[in-house]
Amino acid sequence: MRVVVDLSRCEGYAQCAFLAPDAFRLHGEEALMYDPEPDDALRDRVLRAAAACPVQAILVDRLEGRRIPVEAARS
């Protein structure tokens, strides 16, 4: 699955790092590092993390499972 965190909104509450520690980690006391394409096995945890973000900075792909492939240019 695909995830992006708007780190300019993130205030370092680390709720995500509690609820999905394999996908979201703190670097030092406050800085968030995350896996932008966490394994599908972590899906439930990642969704819990996204829901719990106090500043709603975590975007999880809303197209999952119904992706239209990107067409490369014919050059």
């Binding site: 790092a17 509690f18 703190l26 969704l47 829901a51 719990a52």
Partner: protein, 406 residues
């Protein structure tokens, strides 16, 4: 931005008769986002102003910064970090967090999940053959106290004593010298003293005997911020216990009450267990366990919106009102588990954001999920149910539910 009618609205909110439904009064209160009271204190009730002030560094959680301190049953030699300001607050919170969450103990909450499910499962098993159950007494109350005892390392056989103290302390939190008997405060003071002595004994035993529980880790750890004193450990444990208990009871109970009032959502939850995740966030907005932060102090003159609150003023923060502010949330009085952009104030915000929030969330996910799955055709016996006294930590004292055939 001040008015004379606001004090009366606040009085009505605090009055016990408003406990089942304070929300229409919050709506009235929000007409004056920052309302000065007759006694010189201020009440803030709108979302933007609350979110702003929770991020305002001129706001203090230290009672010594109030021009007129209020009576308290606290009586501790050192306050818990909830009643402190940075940098001391940050230091103690960091030291406690080393053993509770990221970055040093990131897997604690996820590691507890099987234990949480077992405890809830066992409690539901215990009332499996009863036709009438009390969500509070049979599940919401015993569940978090068992979890916190497990975390702290309180022996199982001591849990009943623990519960009595916790109960007396929580009753004393809402103490109002004008209406409450003095015993309520005295019982609270005594219970706090007993609890502190008991925790002190546990901490003493832990020194030099490192084990896996939180008390032992706090007593034996030497992190970059040094080691907590025994008094600091006791205050911290006390805080986790008191703040972490009643709130979780209310979250689960308010959650079940809300589901019973929205049977279509309860049915959906049975079919879609994942719904519990956004549903709990919506509960934290719609029926939160903590309605009010009773006081913060203006450390220096604080500007909120157009109002300058003078240094030393007491400021009351109406979090539950902010989470129902129509200027922030569309159709705020509707319970909508699918709500997007749900930046509720259920756990507060800023540096004092609820320490145990992630654990509380998982407790609520698991409890409500299992209740939805295992309770067949539940019906509310009384709506509204009887409420606890406190307008601050608001929730039913009992929640009687009948089930199919009952």
């Amino acid at each position: 931005m001040t008015t004379t009618e606001a004090p009366d609205i606040l009085r009505r909110i605090l009055d016990y008769s408003s406990r089942p439904d304070p929300y229409p009064l919050y709506a009235e209160l929000r007409r004056t986002p920052v309302a000065r009271q007759e006694d010189g204190s201020y009440v803030i009730s709108t979302y933007r102003e609350l979110a702003d002030i929770l991020h305002n560094p001129h706001l203090s959680s230290d009672v010594r910064n109030l021009a007129h301190p209020m009576p308290s049953a606290e009586g501790a030699p050192v306050p818990a970090f909830i009643n402190m300001d940075p940098p001391e607050h940050d230091r103690l919170r960091r030291m406690a967090m080393r053993h509770f969450g990221p970055p040093h103990t990131p897997g604690l909450v996820t590691g507890l999940e099987p234990t949480l499910a077992d405890i809830v499962g066992g409690l539901i098993d215990d009332f499996a053959d009863k036709d009438r159950i009390d969500i509070v007494d049979d599940l919401a109350y015993p569940f978090p106290v068992t979890v916190i005892c497990h975390l702290l390392g309180v022996p199982r056989e001591d849990e009943p004593r623990f519960r009595v103290w916790v109960n007396d302390i929580i009753n004393s939190i809402g103490y109002d010298p004008k209406t409450d008997p003095k015993e309520k405060l005295d019982d609270g003071v005594r219970a706090r003293q007993n609890l502190r002595e008991y925790l002190g004994g546990l901490v003493e035993q832990r020194h030099g005997h490192p084990s896996d529980d939180l008390l032992s880790r706090l007593a034996n750890d030497d992190g970059p911020d040094g080691r907590m004193t025994d008094e600091e450990i006791i205050s911290t444990a006390n805080l986790l216990l008191i703040a972490g208990h009643e709130t979780t009871v209310n979250l689960i109970t308010n959650g079940m009450l809300t589901l019973l009032r929205h049977p279509h959502v309860l049915r959906r939850l049975r079919d879609e267990p994942d719904l519990v995740v956004p549903l709990v966030e919506e509960l934290l907005r719609y029926e939160p366990p903590v309605h009010i932060i009773p006081w913060r102090a203006a450390y220096s003159d604080v500007t909120v919106g157009d109002t300058v609150i003078p240094k030393g003023s007491q400021i009351m923060l109406m979090l539950a009102s902010g989470s129902r502010d129509p200027n922030r949330f569309h159709d705020p009085d509707r319970f909508d588990p699918g709500r997007r952009d749900n930046q509720h104030l259920g756990f507060g915000s800023g540096v004092h954001l609820c320490f145990g929030g992630p654990l509380a969330r998982r407790e609520a996910h698991i409890a409500l999920g299992q209740l939805a799955r295992r309770l067949d055709g539940p019906r509310l016996v009384a709506d509204p149910p009887p409420y606890r006294r406190s307008p601050v930590l608001r929730g039913p004292i009992h929640l009687q539910v009948e089930r199919n055939g009952g």
